[in-house]
């Protein structure tokens, strides 16, 4: 189906002409969306379609606000919408509305329900599995029968549940989960308190590894471990945040999960531009995904990558996600030297 609404002034149509692509991202407090996803997508669209404009909105984790932003896109007459849903399971009616107006929707990162045209993502379950696996790997021989503390994401964030269940699926059987807590709003200070509670109730020797759902909370967790003088247990998060990478360099954090955002963003951008122009994009979506409402959605599912001290060079630095200079600021210069970075 060719893109472009029928009532908009800058008619998208076919060919190389311009148009408007709407980009809806779910939140603004973690680094990725504002610092990576958005610039990568905007950049790629600009490159592929210089006459295109991108209309951007961020929903600050508010599903209702995102619905209004979605409506605003339709009011503004955008030709294609890229949707990273706050709550992917409630979007069916929105997407139907867009479909009725002839505006195709690409689901980004989270599998939005409803008749979407394409889906590009990392698999959240998979992220969790990798996190669990990375912990077990770090424990090495001691993995069998090890005791793991889990500091999970927000109870109201559907992704958090997927991370958690992915990790559990790997850990269970091998390791024992001795403490598991969800943290409201992914709050690092609360994570710090929960970690202290874990240390207090289990004792400093009462656990062998710490699963922490993301790097943001990792800061608070590691703070608690250090304060208790515990520096020999593996700890890992996700997102490959700069602060997390720096901790990996100094050895206080063991791993993070790197979701190479650039390919994810750029593939999405390209699909969106092709939808705008009414071109075929089958070769961009080799996979297929099923949502509760729709089956056989053309998809690209990318593989997340665990990052440890040994693999920083080949992953985030190789991808130019961060330059060595970003990571190796004055404070970390020595540690970088030792690790052979920068």
């Amino acid at each position: 189906e060719a893109g472009g609404g029928d009532d908009d002034d800058n008619e998208g149509g076919g060919g190389d002409g311009g148009g408007t692509i709407g980009l809806l991202l779910p939140e603004d407090r973690t680094t990725r969306y504002e610092s990576f996803d958005r610039p990568f997508i905007e950049g790629k669209i600009g490159e592929l379609c210089p006459d295109c404009t991108v209309q951007y909105n961020n929903a600050s984790e508010d599903a209702n606000l995102q619905k209004q932003q979605f409506d605003a896109m339709l009011t503004d007459g955008v030709d294609v919408i890229i949707l990273d849903a706050v709550d992917a399971s409630t979007t069916a009616t929105w997407v139907e509305e867009a479909e009725a107006e002839g505006v195709p929707v690409v689901a980004y990162d989270r599998l939005a329900e409803g008749p979407i045209d394409a889906y590009v993502s990392y698999d959240n379950e998979r992220v969790g599995e990798l996190q669990g696996q990375a912990l077990l790997d770090a424990l090495g021989d001691e993995a069998e029968g090890s005791r793991v503390v889990m500091i999970n994401g927000s109870p109201t964030d559907p992704n958090a549940a997927q991370f958690k269940s992915g990790a559990e699926s790997v850990l269970e059987g091998t390791a024992e989960i001795v403490f598991s807590q969800d943290i409201d709003g992914w709050d690092a200070a609360l994570a710090n308190e929960e970690m202290n509670a874990a240390i207090d109730s289990l004792g400093a020797d009462g656990f062998d590894a710490v699963y922490v759902a993301n790097d943001g909370m990792g800061a608070g967790v590691i703070n608690a471990l250090e304060a208790a003088g515990i520096n020999d247990v593996p700890v890992g998060g996700q997102d490959a945040e700069l602060a997390g990478l720096q901790r990996i360099v100094t050895g206080v954090q063991t791993f993070t999960i790197y979701k190479a955002l650039q390919p994810e963003a750029e593939i999405t951008a390209e699909i969106a531009v092709r939808l705008l122009r009414g071109e075929d994009f089958a070769e961009l979506t080799p996979d297929s995904a099923d949502s509760p409402t729709n089956d056989g959605i053309p998809s690209t599912l990318l593989e997340p990558v665990p990052v440890t001290l040994d693999t920083i060079e080949d992953t985030v630095i190789a991808d130019e996600f961060y330059a060595p200079a970003d990571i190796c600021t004055a404070e970390f210069a020595d540690a970088c030297q030792e690790a052979g970075l920068g």
Binding site: D28, N57, N64, L65, A72, T75, T90, T156
Partner: protein
């Protein structure tokens, strides 16, 4: 001389007729009694700025969307206005909205309870929660701020618990809740009819009242004032109706919101119960000494506020497309309270009107929608919303300052 006093010579009496009305109006304006004018002027400025920036702000589609969006927070704001009139606050309305959506969704979707029954039960759950708040506040004497702060935490915990393993429960296609967001009376006579009913009803009410006053020998408003007032209402109503008909017609959400506004307005201005609310908010001890059952007034107002929050929560679920663990968290609470205050209801009790729920919600929603249309970065949205909120009230405050009469201590 003392049995029938002459009118006070110091009272600057209004001339009869339109001239007198306008003169009186001018005097109020220059004296700083701006009433709701700042908000209305603010609304106009907001509309003009956004329209010039986006070209779509005043489109029928957007106006129609806004009229649907305001229903949920607006209904909740009506409850907050009532609570503010008491001089109290209810911090739990956001959590209550979320809890209500969860209750409805779990009952109706997961347990197969009849949809309408589930809606009623969700609202009753709200009423029960409000009664509980009212009990602790009115009977035990715990400050309402603390009671509802406990509620803010407790009910959102309960919401997450009620939702159980489901992160989100979708609104079924055939549910009335879906209609709260998606149903429009598409026959154009619906919108025009409502506009006509509102205008004529207002006219009738005014004429009836003035007739009675005249018969009782009390001062009356000039006919020209009545015509002017009704005229303004009619123009606003018909323009809105026309615009809505350009899109999909009259939204059910707007109808429900208007009915609630009219009912609440009637209640607080025309019934003894409403009078009691103002009295308790103005001076609770004086109200008690006048024989008013202060505890009952407080208890029932909190019941109403929570019930309205519960209803508002269903509109939220309708809009998002489902009930979730996070529905009602975030800025909802603050937005609803801000709406009531921006609309002109005092935080200190005893002063305000129901229509502030409409005006304030409209201002806040217009800003959000306008910024969405402009595709403003979210942190900039935060800052602009904060700034506009401030400006909206600054105008009012400045005018009140010039007028301030250094009343009693």
């Amino acid at each position: 001389m003392s049995d029938k006093l002459a009118p006070d010579p110091r009272l600057l009496v209004r001339e009869r007729g339109l001239a007198g009305y306008l003169e009186d109006f001018r005097r109020r304006i220059t004296g700083g009694e701006l009433g709701s004018i700042p908000v209305i002027v603010g609304m106009i400025i907001i509309a003009v700025v956004f329209e010039s920036q986006t070209g779509t702000f005043l489109s029928p589609r957007n106006i129609s969307n806004i009229s649907v969006y305001i229903a949920g927070p607006g209904i909740m704001a009506v409850g907050i206005v009532l609570v503010l009139l008491l001089g109290e606050i209810d911090l739990s309305v956001g959590s209550m909205a979320g809890l209500s959506a969860a209750v409805w969704a779990v009952l109706s979707v997961s347990h197969g309870v009849n949809d309408l029954l589930a809606i009623v039960l969700a609202i009753l759950a709200g009423a029960a929660v409000g009664t509980l708040h009212g009990f602790f506040f009115a009977k035990i004497g715990v400050p309402a701020f603390v009671v509802t702060l406990a509620g803010f935490l407790g009910w959102s915990g309960l919401q997450i618990w009620v939702m159980g393993d489901e992160g989100t429960i979708n609104v079924p296609r055939d549910s009335l809740v879906r209609d709260f967001n998606n149903f429009y009376f598409s026959d154009i006579s619906a919108a025009y009819g409502l506009a006509a009913v509102l205008s004529l009803g207002y006219l009738g009410a005014l004429l009836f009242q003035e007739r009675r006053r005249e018969r009782a020998g009390l001062p009356t408003r000039p006919l020209s004032e009545i015509i002017l007032r009704v005229g303004l209402v009619a123009v606003a109503a018909f323009i809105t109706a026309y615009t809505l008909n350009q899109h999909r017609g009259l939204p059910l959400a707007l109808v429900i919101f208007l009915v609630i506004l009219l009912a609440a307005d009637f209640m607080i201005r025309r019934t003894t119960y409403g009078r009691q609310i103002f009295a308790v908010g103005g001076n609770a001890e004086a109200a008690r000494r006048a024989g008013i059952n202060v505890e009952r007034v407080r208890l029932t107002v909190f019941t109403l506020a929570s019930a309205l929050a519960a209803l508002g929560g269903l509109f939220y679920a309708a809009q998002a497309g489902g009930a979730s663990k996070s529905l009602g968290s975030g800025n909802l609470l603050m937005n609803v309270i801000a709406a009531a205050v921006i609309g002109g209801t005092s935080l200190f009790g005893g002063r305000g009107w129901i229509w502030s729920a409409l005006l304030g919600t409209l201002v806040i929603q217009s800003i959000t929608t306008g910024l969405n249309l402009m595709g403003m970065a979210s942190e900039i949205q935060y800052m602009i919303t904060g700034a506009v909120l401030l400006v909206a009230v600054v105008l009012d405050s400045i005018s009140r300052r010039t007028q301030r009469t250094a009343g009693r201590t």
